[in-house]
């Protein structure tokens, strides 16, 4: 074996070892969800269930409860509406910031950047007062506008970079042909930046799908909960926590994210990195 082969062999070894450690907790989660939901903690704990004890009873329980279907639909609804609204608003905002000179443009952009630095959680108290005033407590409509507002700064920042890559000459050609600003936005900018919008949207979907603190604060009704809140609802309501159910529902709620991620992997990575590398 040459020296080069030795090096590449040890690189693969390191990467596989690291990967095993990284995915171990997730495998354990699936493994617990396949065990019977009997004792609080089994002794001795096994990493993998015995073949004879593998059961789908936790999944059957989850699928037999109407509440969880409703939670699932809530999460889907909240995430997709957030993604659609944010994509449209952020694209329009990015288009205006990238293409037009207007008073306060710089100030607006700086303001958007500033809101990116301050973590959303620190605003939870004034936001709660706002939600009370708007009477959206305990409603899904109390989530969507807030999530949309949270993801817009980052989305705008990302999409702006993509808009700036579209040559300005295209705009001018359209004006010459008698097109309006809307023609440019809908027929040039949107189609040409759709990759950027897609990558940002995957990110936004993830944000809305897994958001916990705000949904936990605003929603108290079982049927109006989103999935993360439904999962945390297993704690405290029973005498002891039924971990099998917890992890079955967790696995169930990871599925859409996994699908979105695997299909959009290419966009996802591009969207993440375009801002960091250019800037």
């Amino acid at each position: 074996m040459s020296k080069k082969q030795m090096i590449s062999g040890s690189i693969y070894f390191l990467l596989i070892a690291g990967m095993t450690i990284v995915v171990l907790p997730m495998i354990y989660m699936i493994s617990v969800s396949l065990k019977p939901n009997g004792a609080l903690y089994e002794f001795p704990p096994r990493f993998f269930p015995k073949l004879s004890e593998i059961t789908l009873e936790n999944y059957q329980y989850i699928l037999s409860k109407v509440q969880f279907y409703q939670n699932f639909l809530n999460s889907i609804l909240v995430s997709t509406v957030t993604v659609a609204a944010a994509a449209f608003i952020a694209a329009a905002l990015a288009f205006c910031l990238a293409r037009f000179e207007f008073p306060g443009r710089r100030a607006l952009f700086t303001f958007i950047m500033l809101t990116m630095i301050i973590p959303g959680m620190t605003l939870i108290v004034p936001q709660y007062e706002l939600a009370v005033k708007l009477k959206v407590i305990n409603q899904l409509w109390g989530l969507i506008p807030f999530y949309t507002a949270w993801v817009i700064p980052y989305s705008t920042f990302m999409i702006k970079g993509f808009v700036e890559n579209v040559p300005k000459e295209l705009d001018e050609a359209i004006y010459m042909d008698g097109g309006s600003v809307f023609t440019i936005f809908f027929q040039v900018i949107l189609p040409l930046t759709k990759q950027g919008i897609a990558s940002v949207s995957i990110f936004n979907f993830l944000t809305a799908w897994e958001e916990f603190p705000w949904a936990n604060t605003v929603i108290n009704d079982d049927l109006k909960r989103t999935l993360p809140i439904a999962i945390s609802g297993f704690f405290g309501q029973h005498q002891f926590t039924q971990w099998g159910y917890v992890f079955a529902l967790s696995a169930f709620s990871l599925l859409p994210i996994l699908l979105v991620f695997l299909f959009g992997q290419r966009f996802f990575v591009e969207g993440l990195t375009s801002g960091s590398v250019k800037g």
């Binding site: 990284v22 630095i117 301050i118 620190t122 939870i124 709660y128 897994e210 709620s253 991620f261 960091s276």
Partner: protein
């Protein structure tokens, strides 16, 4: 809000009390505990994530096959939601959990189960481990993209000049990806101060508010104690701290570029 005695439900009586909320926050023993917990969390998880993320990015950058597989696998923790990841860690680190079994019965390192989640630094350590585990993938992807922009010719020239791999790393790789390092540093520092869900799910501040972070403490004061004014003041303090930290980090990087 932060300048008023704004308690939950007191719609009509919210007297202006000036900076009293701010004084309360800063003098509060529990805020000080929460703040130092958050600071330790940030100081440890940020470098840990960056170093491990960069290391894995460099390893993946150097191979030809299975690149996508590794990238996807290392990214999985990032897309796992905080709630789920926290619960898995809580389960593993539980006193009767898998890790203690492994330490006590398999490796026989200690005689009795360690109560990870029942002490200040035990709880914080579990949260830090989770934060690092979850953050490596993001750093890996960001650094991988940066490494791809470093021209190969630089390395070839250095190799001809007789620079070894370590030397190449410090004189070529690191300076070339400086922009990305800054970007990651700022984002992760913000993320470190933002730690909430993991603590809330794993320890919920127990025992006796010893494992609170600034945000879980703020949340507790607002929604369990009803002190909205206090929490608004606390939020504002955190925002200021973050703004200062971010601008200092940007300055430092700019100075380095000029020299």
């Amino acid at each position: 809000m932060s300048f008023f005695q704004w308690d939950f439900g007191s719609v009509f009586h919210q007297p202006f009390i000036g900076i009293e909320n701010y004084r309360d926050v800063l003098a509060d023993e529990y805020f000080q505990i929460a703040f130092s917990n958050t600071l330790v969390y940030t100081l440890i998880t940020v470098p840990a994530q960056m170093v491990l993320g960069l290391l894995i990015a460099m390893l993946i950058h150097g191979i030809n096959r299975l690149k996508i597989t590794f990238r996807v696998a290392y990214y999985l923790p990032v897309i796992t939601s905080w709630v789920i990841a926290s619960l898995v860690f809580k389960y593993i680190f539980n006193t009767e959990g898998l890790l203690n079994y492994f330490l006590v019965n398999v490796l026989q390192l200690t005689g009795q189960n360690i109560r990870w989640l029942d002490s200040r630094w035990g709880g914080i350590s579990v949260a830090m481990l989770l934060g690092t585990w979850k953050g490596i993938g993001w750093n890996m992807v960001v650094f991988l993209a940066a490494l791809q922009t470093v021209p190969l010719s630089l390395y070839e020239a250095a190799a001809i000049d007789g620079a070894g791999r370590v030397r190449q790393f410090f004189t070529i790789t690191l300076p070339s990806i400086r922009g990305t390092i800054l970007f990651a540093l700022v984002m992760l520092t913000i993320g470190g101060f933002n730690v909430f869900t993991s603590i809330k799910m794993i320890t919920n501040g127990k025992p006796g508010h010893q494992t609170e972070t600034v945000l879980t403490w703020m949340y507790y004061k607002a929604f369990s104690a009803g002190k909205f004014g206090y929490s608004a003041a606390l939020s504002f303090i955190i925002a200021i701290v973050l703004a200062i930290l971010a601008s200092v980090q940007f300055r430092l990087m700019k100075n380095q570029e000029q020299s």
